[in-house]
C-alpha cells in the first residue's frame, strides 16, 4: 500500500527515502524493472543518447531476478544523486514499459509520477524474504537475485545494426582503415601515390588459443579520406573502414552499435584498442595504445639519379633606382564603404544646427565635430547616415578619409597609405578634390556634437512641487475563491466532448 508524499514531508516509512531540494522523495538508488532483455537494451540505447552512461556506470548493476513463481525479469540498480537524473532515467524506462522505483538496501518504492509529483512512501514495510522488494501502486513483490549481468558483457555481445544507405562517416576527424598483413604495404603505397596523409601502426595478433585464427593487422589512420576511396575500401575484401567513437574505440563504417559507445568510455580500458566489426559480427581487442608513424615511412621510394631539378642562377644584385610615385585621388568603381565623416562648408552650419534640434539624442550620440578655418569636420564613431550634408567621406584606414566614390592611387594597402600620410586615431587626414592639400585634424580638436552645438543655458531655481501621485500598483498574486458550482454546472460536458475551439 503506497501513500502519496506531501510537500515538506520529511519522515518516511521506507528506508533510505529523503526529500531532495525540490521536495521529491528520493532514495540513494534507483531500480528499473524490465520484463525482457530487448527492453533493457532499448533503455540503454535511449539513455546513452540522452545522457552520459559514464556517470552511472560505477554504481550500475544489472540483475536477473526471479519472482516466487519463477518468472524472470531484469532489474537495473543505479545510484542517483538528484531527482533531475532520476526523472530522466524514469522517463526513458517508462517509455519502454519498465517500472521505476527508488530506495536503498533491498526496499524500493515506486518513483514519482504524474499522480503523485512528490513521490510515494510505503504504509508499512513488508517482511517478505528476498534480495529486492519492490513496492508498486498495484503490487508489492519480492525478488530473488538469479545472476548479475555485467554491463561490459552486455555491450560486447550486442550485434551491430547496419545503417541503410551509402556509407556515411559524418563529421569524423579521421578514419581507421584496417588491412590484413599482406595488404598493408599496397594500401599505404596507394594512399601515398594519391597524396592522402595517413599514419599507420602494425598490430600483432592477440595472444589466445593456438587453434584460433590469428590475424595481424595494419591500422591506418587517414585524415580526409576522399569519398571515392571510402567506397572502394568498403567494397575491397581484406580492408575494413572504421569510424572513431572514442579515443580507443572504433565502429565499422555502415554500422552502429545499439548503445552510444561515446557515452560509456569507462568500459574500454585505456591500454587497449577496440574495433567493432559489423561484417564479421565481432569485437576485436588489440593491445594498445597504438603507436602511429607517418605512412610514407613504410613506402619504398624510387630514385632517378640522372634527374636534377636544381638550377643555378647567375643574377647579381645591384642598388635599385629610387622609386617614388605621387598619391592621387581618383574616381573609384568599387562599391562605397560606410560614410563615417563629412566635410561641411561654413555655409551649411545653420543646416547642421537645425538637424541637431530635429534628431533624437540616440542618433546624435557618437558624433564629433571640429571647426577649422575652412570647413566643419563631422566624424561619427559608427555611421554618419543621419547627417546628409557636405561631402560624405569614407574611412580607408584608421584616420585616413577620402570622399565616397574616390580612392587613392597607387592602390597600395590602406594601412601603408595611412602610415605614409601619418594618419591614425590621434590625427585624422582628409583627402578631397576641392582641397589643394590633404587636411589634417587632431583628434583632440574634435568635440561631441551635442556639446559643441549647445548654447549657454539660463538656470532657474526650482521650487518644491506637490507630492507625486504614485501609479496604480498591481494587486499582487491571484487567489482562487471557490464559488458555487451548481448542480448542472457540467451539463455542457455530460453527453459528449464539447467541440474544440
Amino acid at each position: 500500500m503506497l501513500e502519496r508524499v506531501a510537500l515538506n514531508q520529511t519522515r518516511f516509512h521506507a528506508p533510505g527515502l529523503a526529500p531532495d531540494g525540490r521536495g521529491v522523495a528520493l532514495g540513494p538508488k534507483l531500480a528499473l524493472l524490465f520484463a525482457s532483455l530487448d527492453r533493457l537494451v532499448g533503455f540503454f540505447r535511449i539513455y546513452s543518447e540522452q545522457a552520459s552512461l559514464d556517470d552511472v556506470l560505477p554504481s550500475l548493476h544489472i540483475h536477473r531476478v526471479r519472482t516466487p513463481v519463477a518468472a524472470h525479469e531484469l532489474l537495473v540498480v543505479l545510484a542517483v544523486d538528484s531527482s533531475y537524473a532520476a526523472d530522466r532515467a524514469a522517463r526513458v524506462a517508462r517509455l519502454l514499459g519498465g517500472l521505476c522505483f527508488t530506495g536503498a538496501g533491498k526496499h524500493f518504492v515506486q518513483y514519482r509520477d504524474e499522480s503523485s509529483p512528490l513521490g510515494y512512501d510505503v504504509a508499512e514495510v513488508t517482511q517478505q524474504s528476498g534480495d529486492f522488494v519492490l513496492y508498486g501502486d498495484a503490487f508489492t513483490q519480492a525478488y530473488a537475485r538469479a545472476e548479475e549481468v555485467s554491463f561490459a558483457q552486455l555491450l560486447f555481445r550486442l550485434q551491430l545494426i547496419q545503417v541503410p544507405g551509402p556509407p556515411e562517416v559524418g563529421d569524423a576527424e579521421f578514419l581507421y582503415v584496417a588491412a590484413r598483413r599482406g595488404l598493408g604495404q599496397a594500401l599505404l603505397r596507394y594512399l601515398w601515390r594519391n597524396r592522402v596523409a595517413c599514419e599507420a601502426a602494425f598490430c600483432d595478433p592477440p595472444e589466445g588459443s593456438a587453434f584460433r585464427e590469428q590475424n595481424a593487422l595494419w591500422i591506418v589512420r587517414v585524415r580526409g579520406l576522399p569519398a571515392r576511396m571510402l567506397r572502394l575500401f568498403v567494397r575491397t575484401p581484406g580492408l575494413s573502414v572504421y569510424r572513431p567513437v572514442g579515443a580507443n574505440v572504433a565502429i565499422e563504417v555502415g554500422y552502429r552499435h545499439p548503445i552510444a559507445l561515446e557515452s560509456c568510455a569507462q568500459v574500454f580500458a585505456a591500454g587497449k584498442f577496440y574495433l567493432f566489426s559489423g561484417q564479421r559480427d565481432a569485437a576485436e581487442v588489440l593491445a594498445g595504445p597504438l603507436d602511429f608513424v607517418p605512412g610514407d615511412a613504410f613506402v619504398q621510394p624510387t630514385w632517378d639519379l640522372a634527374r636534377d631539378r636544381r638550377v643555378l642562377s647567375d643574377a647579381r644584385s645591384r642598388k635599385p633606382a629610387p622609386l617614388e610615385v605621387p598619391l592621387k585621388l581618383v574616381p573609384s568603381f568599387a562599391p562605397p564603404r560606410r560614410v563615417s565623416a563629412a566635410l561641411l562648408p561654413w555655409a551649411q552650419a545653420s543646416w547642421l544646427k537645425k538637424l541637431v534640434y530635429a534628431l533624437p539624442p540616440t542618433l546624435l550620440r557618437g558624433h564629433r565635430v571640429a571647426a577649422t578655418a575652412e570647413l566643419l569636420v563631422v566624424v561619427a564613431d559608427s555611421s554618419l547616415d543621419v547627417i546628409p550634408l557636405g561631402t560624405p567621406m569614407q574611412e580607408l584606414a584608421p584616420g585616413l578619409y577620402v570622399p565616397v566614390g574616390y580612392e587613392l592611387a597607387p592602390r597600395t594597402s590602406p594601412e601603408v597609405l595611412a602610415q605614409h600620410a601619418g594618419a591614425g586615431p590621434e590625427r585624422l587626414i582628409f583627402f578631397a578634390p576641392f582641397l589643394e592639400r590633404p587636411l589634417a585634424v587632431e583628434a583632440s580638436a574634435l568635440a561631441p556634437l551635442e556639446r559643441r552645438t549647445l548654447a549657454e543655458i539660463e538656470i532657474q531655481r526650482a521650487e518644491p512641487a506637490e507630492e507625486l501621485v504614485l501609479a496604480e500598483e498591481p494587486s499582487g498574486e491571484p487567489e482562487i475563491v471557490s464559488g458555487k458550482v451548481g448542480r448542472f454546472a457540467l451539463w455542457g460536458f455530460k453527453s459528449e466532448k464539447p467541440e474544440p475551439p
Binding site: D54, P117, P474, I480, G486, A489, G492, P498
Partner: protein, 365 residues
C-alpha cells in the same frame, strides 16, 4: 458564469492579481459567448476589457521597452478559458462529478490551451501577459476542527455557524495558503493543461525555471532568446531569482539539450546564454560569488554541474559574449570564476561541453 463576469472576475485577476472566482467550468458554448463579447468589441464599451488591456500592457512593459498593442483576441481568451477550466479541476465540488465528465473538462481545457508555439514576438509577449501568474496562483484553505469533528474549506471561508461558541465547542481554525500548482494536489489532467499552456507561452516557461514539473524546455525557449530584449529580461529575472536557484533546472535542461541535439546550434546558443548569466553576475558583483565557493552550497550539488561546466568550457575556448569589454579586473574575476567552475564540475564534463562549442575563438588561451 456570464461572459462579463468571466472577464471581470477571472481573466482580469489572472492578468493583474486578486481574487479569481472559480465556479462552473466553461464549455464550448460558453467559450463562444465569451469570445463573441471580447473579440472585436470596442474597448470603450467593455469596462473589464479596458482593465485587462491595461494590466497586460503593464506586464508587457516589464518585458520590452515598447510593448506591442495587445488586443483582447481569440488566443488570449482561449488561454484564459483553458487555465480557468484547469483551476476548476481542483475545485472542492469538482469531485462530486463523475471522473469521465471531469476528464472531458480537462480535454476541452487542453484543446483551448493547445495553441502551439507563438509565431511572432507580439504573440509571445501577448500570451505571456495572460498566463504570467500561472505559477503564482494561490488558494487559502481553512481547516476547522470542533468538539465533534472537523471540516475543510478549500478556497472559501468557513460559515459563521461553525465558528460560534469557540470556547465551548473547542473551535480551532487553521488557515493555510497553498500555491495552486505546487501544493493544491493538481490532478494529472490539469497538469497536462499546464503543459499545453507552457508550450503556447514559452516566455512564461522560461521565466519560471524553478518548479517541479514539467521540466524547463530550453530547446523551445531558445528560439526566442535571440531577441535581445527578451533575452535581457529573462537573464535579469534569473539574476533576480539568484543563480544558485536557477543553476539546477538550467543545468538539467542543458544536459537534456546536449543529449538530444549534440553539437547542434541550439546547444551553442544555450551555452552562450548560460555563459552570459555568469558574466553578468561577475559584472554586478565586486567580490567573488559566495555561492560558488561555499562548501556544501548549491554549487556543489551534482545537478548544478552542467551550469558551471558550461561557463568553464566557454571561457576556456575564448567564447565571450559579444558586446562585453573585458577590463583587467573583470577579466581576472572571470578567469578565477572559470577555474572554480572547472574544479567543481570536473574536467571531463567541461571537455564534453567544450566539444559542443566547437573550435576555440581566435586568441583563446
Amino acid at each position: 458564469m456570464t461572459p462579463d463576469h468571466f472577464l471581470a472576475q477571472v481573466m482580469l485577476p489572472l492578468c493583474q492579481g486578486g481574487p479569481v472566482e472559480v465556479a462552473a467550468p466553461l464549455d464550448s458554448a460558453a467559450y463562444d459567448e465569451v469570445r463573441r463579447l471580447a473579440v472585436g468589441a470596442e474597448l470603450a464599451e467593455l469596462a473589464p476589457a479596458v482593465a485587462i488591456a491595461r494590466a497586460r500592457r503593464r506586464v508587457a512593459a516589464e518585458v520590452v521597452l515598447a510593448p506591442p498593442t495587445l488586443a483582447l483576441d481569440e488566443e488570449a481568451v482561449r488561454l484564459a478559458v483553458g487555465l480557468y477550466d484547469a483551476l476548476f479541476l481542483t475545485h472542492p465540488d469538482a469531485r462530486r462529478h463523475r471522473i469521465g465528465v471531469r476528464q472531458r473538462v480537462a480535454e476541452f481545457a487542453g484543446e483551448c490551451a493547445a495553441l502551439g508555439a507563438p509565431a511572432t514576438r507580439s504573440q509571445l509577449i501577448g500570451r505571456h501577459t495572460v498566463v504570467h501568474n500561472l505559477f503564482r496562483v494561490g488558494r487559502t484553505d481553512h481547516r476547522v476542527s470542533f468538539w465533534v469533528g472537523k471540516r475543510e474549506f478549500r478556497g472559501r471561508k468557513p460559515p459563521q455557524r461553525l465558528l460560534r461558541w469557540p470556547g465551548v465547542r473547542r473551535v480551532q481554525v487553521q488557515t493555510v495558503r497553498l500555491n495552486w500548482y505546487r501544493q493544491a494536489g493538481v490532478p494529472a489532467p490539469a497538469r497536462q493543461v499546464v503543459r499545453h499552456i507552457l508550450e503556447a507561452s514559452p516566455l512564461t516557461d522560461l521565466l519560471n525555471p524553478v518548479r517541479l514539473d514539467p521540466p524547463l524546455a530550453l530547446a523551445v525557449g531558445l528560439k526566442y532568446l535571440s531577441d535581445p530584449e527578451i533575452a535581457r529580461f529573462v537573464a535579469y529575472e534569473y539574476l533576480k531569482l539568484g543563480l544558485p536557484q536557477v543553476a539546477a533546472p538550467l543545468s538539467a535542461a542543458l544536459a537534456e539539450l546536449v543529449g538530444e541535439r549534440p553539437g547542434g546550434p541550439e546547444v551553442r546558443a544555450a551555452l552562450a546564454f548560460v555563459c552570459h548569466l555568469h558574466v553578468l553576475e561577475a559584472m554586478v558583483e565586486s567580490a567573488e560569488a559566495q555561492w560558488l565557493s561555499a562548501e556544501g552550497g548549491p554549487a556543489r550539488a551534482p545537478e548544478a554541474r552542467d551550469f558551471l561546466a558550461a561557463f568553464a568550457a566557454a571561457w576556456g575556448r575564448g567564447h565571450v559574449p559579444p558586446g562585453i569589454e573585458l577590463e583587467a579586473g573583470l577579466s581576472e574575476r572571470l578567469a578565477r570564476r572559470a577555474d572554480l567552475c572547472e574544479r567543481i564540475a570536473g574536467a571531463a564534463r567541461v571537455e564534453a561541453l567544450a566539444a559542443a562549442l566547437g573550435p576555440p575563438a581566435p586568441g583563446a588561451c
